[in-house]
């Protein structure tokens, strides 16, 4: 028997959902609110209504040049994602369609690298970057971001490809499709949604990555994460400016996430329910 859902229950559940959503979103909301305050207002204590000044934004832009960081963020996240896809698609493909006895082990091993704390390899990586002249270089950081997200990209694509039934590929073969036709007409159209949501998620992960981007860059290759952190320490705590910088840093990805949420949710829950 289905569980009876009364109107009262529904109202309570809806209210609870709103409270939780607000709690989760509140830090971001308060950051945005604070960014429209003057520095004085910002340190005066809790206040949800800003005076609505754009002062912090213009100062932030004048002081540090937001667009240079923004450009680096785009370059690093998109670049590392494309690189990761180039490596991960064939890898996931071969593991999904011609698995061996060791495929499961390889997948687990790849995932295990994500369980290691990043700080454990900070020194070796830093030294490698320093000695090969990759510190503060866009290429070095793109490769780094690609490598740290690669396990997740391979796993996601692998799950997607596994969902494509082998019989469909066999049917295409029976229907006279060459390997190339099979890829163009059958495999790719079926895999595109999976590749797209993997790409979106990876862009977000790379965009938000702060540990390596802050430690391996200074100015030239610094993305928005470094841009925010540059506002926190050297000048004391200028809450309004820090909030403006943060808002500017998260805005692009928030907007992108908003528009692609359907794809993202599908990507994250793919394979969970048949």
């Amino acid at each position: 028997m289905a569980r009876a859902v009364t109107t009262q229950h529904k109202t309570i559940a809806t209210a609870a959902a709103w409270v939780v959503a607000l709690l989760i979103f509140f830090p971001i909301l308060y950051t945005i609110i604070t960014s429209f305050k003057s520095e004085q207002e910002a340190i005066q204590g809790f206040n949800l209504i800003p005076s609505g000044t754009f002062e912090s934004y213009s100062e932030v832009q004048q002081q540090s040049g937001y667009f240079k960081f923004f450009f680096n963020s785009v370059l690093l996240s998109v670049g590392s994602t494309i690189l990761a896809l180039i490596v991960a698609i064939p890898a996931a493909w071969s593991m999904a369609f011609s698995p061996t006895k060791r495929t499961k082990d390889i997948l687990m091993w790849m995932l295990s690298t994500k369980m290691m704390p990043a700080v454990a390899v900070l020194f070796p990586i830093y030294l490698i970057f320093r000695d090969s002249g990759l510190l503060d270089s866009r290429i070095g950081l793109t490769v780094m971001l690609m490598l740290i997200n690669l396990p997740i990209v391979v796993w996601m694509l692998y799950t997607y490809f596994r969902e494509i039934p082998g019989e469909i590929l066999e049917a295409a073969r029976m229907d006279g499709a060459s390997l190339w036709n099979e890829i163009i007409y059958v495999l790719t159209p079926m895999a595109v949604p999976g590749i797209a949501s993997t790409m979106l998620l990876n862009i977000i992960l790379a965009w938000n990555e702060a540990f390596w981007t802050i430690r391996l860059t200074t100015t030239n290759a610094a993305p928005l994460t470094a841009f925010i952190s540059s506002f926190s320490s050297p000048q004391g705590l200028f809450w309004a400016k820090l909030s403006a910088a943060s808002t500017l840093a998260i805005a692009p990805i928030l907007i992108m996430g908003w528009f692609s949420q359907k794809q993202l949710v599908r990507g994250l829950t793919f394979g969970a329910v048949k």
Partner: protein, 334 residues
Amino acid sequence: MGNITLKNVSKSFGSTTIIPNIDLNIEDGEFVVFVGPSGCGKSTLLRLIAGLEDTSGGTISIDGRDVTREAPAKRKLAMVFQSYALYPHMTVAKNIAFPLKMAGEDQATIDKKVKDAARVLNLTNYLERRPGQLSGGQRQRVAIGRAIVRQPSAFLFDEPLSNLDAALRGTMRLEISELHHQLQTTMIYVTHDQVEAMTMADKIVVLNAGNIEQVGSPMELYKTPKNLFVAGFIGSPKMNMIEGAPAEKYGAKTIGIRPEHLNISTSSGDWKATVGVAEHLGSDTFLHVQADGIGTVNVRADGEVAVKHGDTVYLTPDKTKLHRFGADGKALAA
């Protein structure tokens, strides 16, 4: 034309042998059913013929041409899969058109052939839909449509009805048989359902553990099974197998008697028995009885028989329809 010949065909996956050695000839236009329990190698055999698996030994020829090493598409065979294997991102029309497109046919020919196939299969109103918007039976018809447009030399069906409900299965069974009469093309059909095998086949190939147990028409297999396996597999309800003293009386290790070949009486007969469960189907009554010194025996009586749980009855086998098997499980000469 669609004459298919298998010579010494074998298949192993690593150290596991699925098919030790098979010789088989399928005549042009025949409806051949491979039947056997799960894991008997019937699907593997079909996939070997299709070219989706490589043989480990032996040769497969179609119309006298050795195709053992040829790619699936070059064999001019069409296959209908258990899961239908439709292309989910294409409409019904595009699904059916796909093999024609791959063969490089021009658009006008493709359109005409797709329309013809849709008409034969009652799919005309669904041509612009995607497979996800169709019912199981409709999807199965699209899969068949995709197979017939190519005018293959033979159709291969891999348990095509097992995902459908019982009622639809009956309808589709008739449709496929009807299609075979229309097209007169060789069809190889894999199933584990002996009813499908009996009703559709010109020739049944009974497989067990990768070996052919018997090849013959449905009635041949029913009337003269070569061994215990075929006797037990063909026919529903299953043949009663009786060992011990009652069998020795007939000079056999085991005797087999089909439920429909047992005469039932309340007064006298060869074997005394007590009625267990009686299933009244209207047309028939299936009785599960405990016969003294024999064990459980299934009896198919007519629909009017009035016995109930606990009644004593007497069974007499029809001697002309009794099957005798030796210690090696093979049928003994009459």
